[in-house]
């Protein structure tokens, strides 16, 4: 009752929260439900409270130290990067392995593919995912097809292309895009999106060791706003495996990256106000995505909601929706809902209307749970 009456919804903080959020522009008070990070529970070494970008920096330091064939480059990488992701790398590893490239994404990715083909492990940075498109030809026509077309004579498996993606509050058209769908449609690439600092470090280290080219999209919203006790030792989180962030029985909610935390808040709202227990799945890898985990969850709950910031038409939610309805048709109790950005370029002043926020997702969860076949017919 109190929760319903209060105009600003302030959920209770759990004593076991492992994530620390700084308050964001659009949620009243950012908080995290208690889901212990199962990925690194077994690690007993020293941990430090790191935000997502520091975790990535830590991963880069580890990668460059442990393998001499790794090098990191991109625009403005030597002074630390525009997001400080490459801080300290140049001084530690020298100008041969950590360097600025001239301003050309097409050149950066082409150069990186050649470096990987010769046996190196390049970590190429694209300053914003919005600017990855000049490199689209190199990624889709070359990196993705290098192994296949040469009959496994050659491959550029060591390639990792890192790019910050997603809404940031004030980015507008060209600093907020989520281009994952374009690359998920390209067989031969792997697309990885972390949602927490621990995941960012583990997935990045796994992507560097992966013998296939990886597009690693980092949610820039979470760069500084999300911190966690990250183990300082090297560890990897396997690609292609989703993680059940929150267990439940009423509805399955699927998301990745920054959107995961929006969904988490929506699930909390559904739990507090309506007692709806959602199963929240963090995909982590979009290509190849962990269909099995989602299928098992939907078979349990019978309802599915997928949410992402990218525009709705032909967004990645469409792929998940089509695959799940093929595999779980008779288990579904309601249509699969997609809560996504609108089919417009990403606007500046209208960002808070554009984004699929926790209120829209909360409504979707309610609708799917209260869906009634009889009224539809």
């Amino acid at each position: 009752m109190k929760a319903l009456l209060s105009r600003r919804y302030i959920p209770k903080k759990s004593p076991l929260s492992t994530l620390f959020f700084r308050s964001s522009t659009f949620s009243p008070t950012a908080v995290k439900a208690e889901t212990p990070s199962a990925d690194t529970q077994h690690l007993t070494g020293k941990r430090e409270k790191l935000n997502l970008v520091s975790a990535i920096n830590n991963a880069l330091h580890i990668a460059l130290e442990s393998d001499q064939t790794v090098c990191a480059f991109g625009e403005d990488v030597t002074f630390g990067g525009v997001f400080r992701a490459s801080l300290g790398l140049r001084n530690r590893f020298g100008p041969d392995r950590v360097f600025n490239t001239p301003l050309s994404e097409q050149g950066i990715v082409g150069f990186a593919i050649g470096l990987a083909a010769a046996g190196g492990k390049p970590i190429a940075e694209i300053q914003f995912a919005d600017y990855i498109f000049p490199a689209f030809d190199q990624l889709v026509n070359e990196a993705a097809k290098f192994r296949y077309r040469s009959g496994n004579e050659f491959d550029c498996g060591g390639l990792v292309v890192r790019a910050p993606y997603g809404a940031v509050g004030h980015g507008g058209l060209y600093h907020s895009q989520s281009p994952e769908a374009y690359f998920c449609h390209t067989a031969g690439l792997k697309v990885v999106v972390p949602a927490t600092p621990i995941e960012a470090k583990g997935l990045l280290l796994a992507s560097i060791q992966e013998r296939n080219p990886v597009v690693f999209l980092e949610p820039k919203w979470l760069y500084r706003s999300l911190s966690e006790l990250v183990p300082l030792e090297p560890y990897e989180i396997p690609l292609g495996k989703a993680r059940i962030y929150r267990e439940g029985k009423d509805a399955t909610v699927v998301g990745w990256g920054a959107q995961l935390h929006v969904l988490d808040r929506a699930c909390s709202m559904a739990k507090e106000r309506h007692g709806i227990e959602c199963e929240l799945i963090n995909l982590r890898t979009l290509l190849p995505w962990d269909k099995q985990t989602v299928i098992e969850s939907v078979k349990k709950t019978g309802r599915l909601i997928i949410s992402h910031e990218a525009p709705k038409t032909c967004g990645f939610a469409a792929e998940i929706s089509a695959s799940i309805q093929e595999a779980c048709f008779t288990y579904l109790e309601a249509p699969i809902l997609r809560v996504c950005g609108y089919d417009t370029p990403f606007p500046l002043i209208f960002e808070k209307f554009y984004r699929p926020d926790e209120l829209k997702n909360f409504e979707a969860i309610k609708n799917t749970v209260h869906f009634d076949f009889s009224t539809e017919l």
Binding site: G107, G114, D155
Partner: protein, 481 residues
Amino acid sequence: VRGSKTFFFKHVYKEIVKKMFRLLENPFLRSKIVTPNASWALRFFPLRLSHFGSSNKRTKNARKISNKQSKRDWSTNLNEENVSCPVNLEEKSKVVHRLSESIKDPRSIDPIPTYRVIDFKGNVISDELPQMDKSMLLKVFESMITIHTMDNIMIDVQRQGRVSFYMSSLGEEAIHFGSATAFELSDIVYPQYRESGVIFWRGFSIEQMMNQMTSNHLDYGKGRQMPMHYGSKAMNFVTVSSPLSTQIPQAVGSAYHLKLQSKPNCCIVYFGEGASSEGDFHPAMNFAATLGAPVLFFCRNNGWAISTPSSEQYRGDGIAGRAAGYGMHAIRVDGNDFFAVHNATKEARRLCVTHKIPVFIEAMTYRVGHHSTSDDYTTYRSKDEVDRFRSVNDPIKRLGGYLRNQGWMDDDTEEFIWKSKRKEVVDCLNRAEETLKPAISELFSDVYDELTPNLVEQKDELKKHMSLYPHEYLIENHVKE
């Protein structure tokens, strides 16, 4: 006998001059005078050994003779000091006060001259003939004939429908073998698609070529690509891909990796003058010069990009004229002259590997054949033009002329080579056509290092479908699983 005093003095003098010019690091002084290096100074204060050394003719001649015995008795007089030093050339820019003095008219720049060693008949017109033994040259000559024969046969074969597609390299054989003979096998080659001679010289047999053309299971590429998309790891020849110029920045990256690994090797990347208009070319050149990658850019300027002549492709001084703009050395060479291409490539490779810099070579040639079998050049150029070029400036005839002048080749032997190579190509083709196609499971492999769950699912789907229609898909042409 080196006069020890004179030998020593030259180097001491150089050091003194260098120290003097170090004063010019003072920006105030530098704005007054423009020159920071000692070689430039030596031009103003020429120092001939003869001024101080013995005027004994015997020692002078002895020096000349010993020079001739070395592999190369000519030098490029290139200033190789700080050749890879990154310099923002605009910092040396003079300040002027008339607008007309600061406008650079491209027409005032002399085009880069073209290097040639033998004339159109094969007579040697330069004293820089490379030292190559007879057996090597005969092998080159035979290989050129092999490629030319294969091209002629395969065009006909495509017209008969036995092969889906073919691209000939008629008229460009000297480029293939001139450059291939100048490289080591450990150098990485990034081709465009008209470099069959290069992979052939590295050891790719006619049989392997035919396997790739007919997409059978012995093709290294497992039959996935169109004909002419050959490649081989063992020969360090990266598989051809259809998009143009995408290989250029990749070659720069591979070369950079070779530099990081301190290998005494470089990369060579081939492309046509049309491909050098593509977007990938420009950052590749810039990256190579700026980051310092030992890569050799080899542009085959054959005058045509399908139907687009070079007059509609660019405006500047060919493609080599762009190199200086990126801060790179450039050589222009007669692409139909085997020896010139060989010398240029060898020297460029030496610069690449010694100084870890990129070098640009533009080989001027003419595309005698169609762009590919999907093209008919009579729709945009006259056959007379092609025939004229073919008769006057043919790389095989020029090398053949040189060999005849040496007495190493005659008409009968050449006739025999043409006939036997023709037979060899036809036999290989027949064998390749009879070989089975790859196993159907190869449709799904190599997308990643291992099959992902979606691919496993789709492979099963296809298997089920094939079991319903066992005869409609000609499975018997493929190797069994």
